[in-house]
Amino acid sequence: MSSALERRKARAAWVFLAPALLLLTVFFVLPVGAGLLLSLTDFDVYAIASPGAMRFVGLANYAHLLRDATFWHAVGNTLQFVLIGGPLSLAVSLGAAMLVNAKLVRMRGIFRTIYFAPVVTTLVSVAIVWKYLYHPRYGLINWLLHLVGVGPVDWLGDPHWAMPAIILLAVWKNFGYNMLIFVAGLQMIPRELYEAAAIDGAGSGRRFRHITMPGLAPTFLFVSVTTMIGYFQIFAEPYVMTQGGPLGATRSVVLLMYEEGFRWWRMGMASAVAVLLLLITLAGTLVQLRWARRDP
């Protein structure tokens, strides 16, 4: 009886899973596998016309990229975005979460909605808006800086400022998402812990260090891994705001992949860029997981 029921459930499971598994296999697993193979070929604009023109070149694409200054520049830009933008965005998210979660605050819901609004805006739209805000002559940001006697800064035209400018936009756009996850994490910490600590005379700094931070540790790991994976894939911001310039200062790894693959149609080379991005992302994830495990 029960084994008949089990068989019936298992059969239903496969029917229910079939569409999703089929789609994921054909349009995700297969392309990812094919991407690995494509990266070992010289697939280019001629191969698009006749696939017979494609040749197996082994690791030649990788060897080329690892010796290519443009590739390393793109890796450096992406790492700058991940290593500065990521922590900055986590810090802003945590600060905002503690503000909107504070017991004393009225109308938390409204503030939460306002802080979250940039997350749901269209990246292309707000990248264009910020491009104008950053305008060296007419932009609101330089005008505000001018009021306090700073500037003018050629935000998107100066190789030193272009990446920080894009990081600022990204932090503004994204902090609301992690803020919500931090709020959820903060609400899981038992209130009694704070009350007991207050009775023992612990100040707010010590309560933050000894209750909030340990209590948030699992949330922190989740948020920093997902944020890092997302930030490694930065593309639309530089595409819209700077086209990777000035002097390649904002060309990210994904933008390089896009240019190689879809502008120059060097799809073998572009696939190698994508695979290297995957390896960098995996390495980053492993480092974070290991780091979190070692921390008590």
């Binding site: 459930k9 298992a10 239903a12 029917v15 229910f16 899973l17 569409p19 999703a20 789609l23 994921l24 054909v26 349009f27 392309p31 990812v32 503000l99 909107v100 004393l104 605050v105 503030f111 939460r112 909605t113 306002i114 802080y115 979250f116 609004a117 749901v120 269209t122 292309v124 739209s125 707000v126 264009i128 808006v129 910020w130 805000l133 002559r137 007419y138 932009g139 609101l140 005008w143 503004w172 996850i181 959820a184 899981m188 949330t219 989740f222 948020v223 997902t226 490694f232 894939q233 639309a236 994904v254 992949m257 693959g261 696939s271 994508a274 695979v275 991005l277 992302t281 995996l282 994830t285």
Partner: protein, 274 residues
């Protein structure tokens, strides 16, 4: 007592200034979209239009012909949302409530696939769709949105809370598995389905890279792609571009405001348990 009042004030000053900074770019976008040509580039930068005009919006639909792109975006987003909710909820339900040998292992391998950047598969996917004749079609844009691993997670997590007794009672009554899913499970997991629909709607509407790759004809472009394309030639027309940005981002904001409760809860639930 006095220190509580002080802390309250500091908190609110922090919150309000944070809110002003957060809203400033959006407020300026909306204000500039109603300004006359050239007005936004005056010094000091005006924060409100002196004589509000709808001229920029009229230009979007006449000279720039963005209505087509709006329709493209709307159709693609609707189709992606409906289809993906069906495909994803079936799979999520199976992972939660229909055990079969190897289920946990399969679920774990799906989870590890979340680390793989979508870009790795994008180039071959483009070539596959090209072989299938789906480049520059709605179907070509929609396909990658249909089965989302993240969505399957979300549904599974929520469906785990549905009581097995209820499902078994329906089985004893003689209901088939699909009927049980549709008539017993779906009403219970409806909140998470709404969350998933809102998620899919927003990510499909806002997506840029994939439509940019797969759509080659400007008449087929989605709004974000069309807008990114226009900003190159109209970079001087600040007010017009702000109107285009409002048109592109407003539907997303409206959908968010309607569904914000379930959407926000979905993110908070996914993050804590994830």
């Amino acid at each position: 007592m006095r220190s509580v009042t002080w802390r309250k004030m500091i908190l609110h000053v922090g919150l309000v200034s944070g809110a002003l900074i957060t809203l400033m770019p959006l407020a300026w976008m909306i204000a500039a979209s109603f300004m006359h040509p050239g007005e936004a580039n005056r010094m000091p930068p005006p924060l409100l239009p002196s004589q509000p005009t709808l001229e920029n919006y009229r230009q979007l639909f006449t000279r720039l012909d963005l209505l087509r792109n709006f329709i493209n975006s709307a159709v693609i987003t609707m189709l992606a949302t409906v289809l993906s909710v069906v495909v994803t909820s079936l799979a999520g339900y199976a992972f939660a409530k229909l055990p079969f040998p190897g289920r946990e292992r399969m679920f774990k391998s799906l989870a590890s696939a979340l680390v793989v950047p979508a870009q790795v598969g994008m180039l071959p996917l483009f070539l596959i769709l090209r072989e299938l004749g789906l480049v520059n079609t709605y179907a070509g844009v929609i396909i990658p949105y249909l089965a989302s691993i993240f969505g399957i997670f979300l549904i599974r997590q929520y469906t785990l809370g549905v009581s097995d007794e209820l499902l078994d009672a329906a089985r004893i009554e003689g209901a088939g598995e699909f009927t049980i899913f549709r008539l017993v499970a779906v009403p219970i997991i409806k909140p998470i389905l709404v969350t998933l629909a809102a998620f899919t709607f927003l990510s499909a509407w806002n997506d840029f890279m994939w439509p940019l790759i797969v759509l080659s004809d400007s008449g087929m472009y989605t709004l974000p792609v069309a807008l990114a394309n226009l900003v190159g030639e109209h970079v001087q027309d600040t007010e017009l571009m702000m109107a285009g940005s409002v048109l592109t981002t407003l539907p997303a904001l409206i959908v968010f405001l309607i569904f914000q409760r379930t959407y926000v809860e979905g993110i908070m639930a996914g993050g804590v348990k994830g």
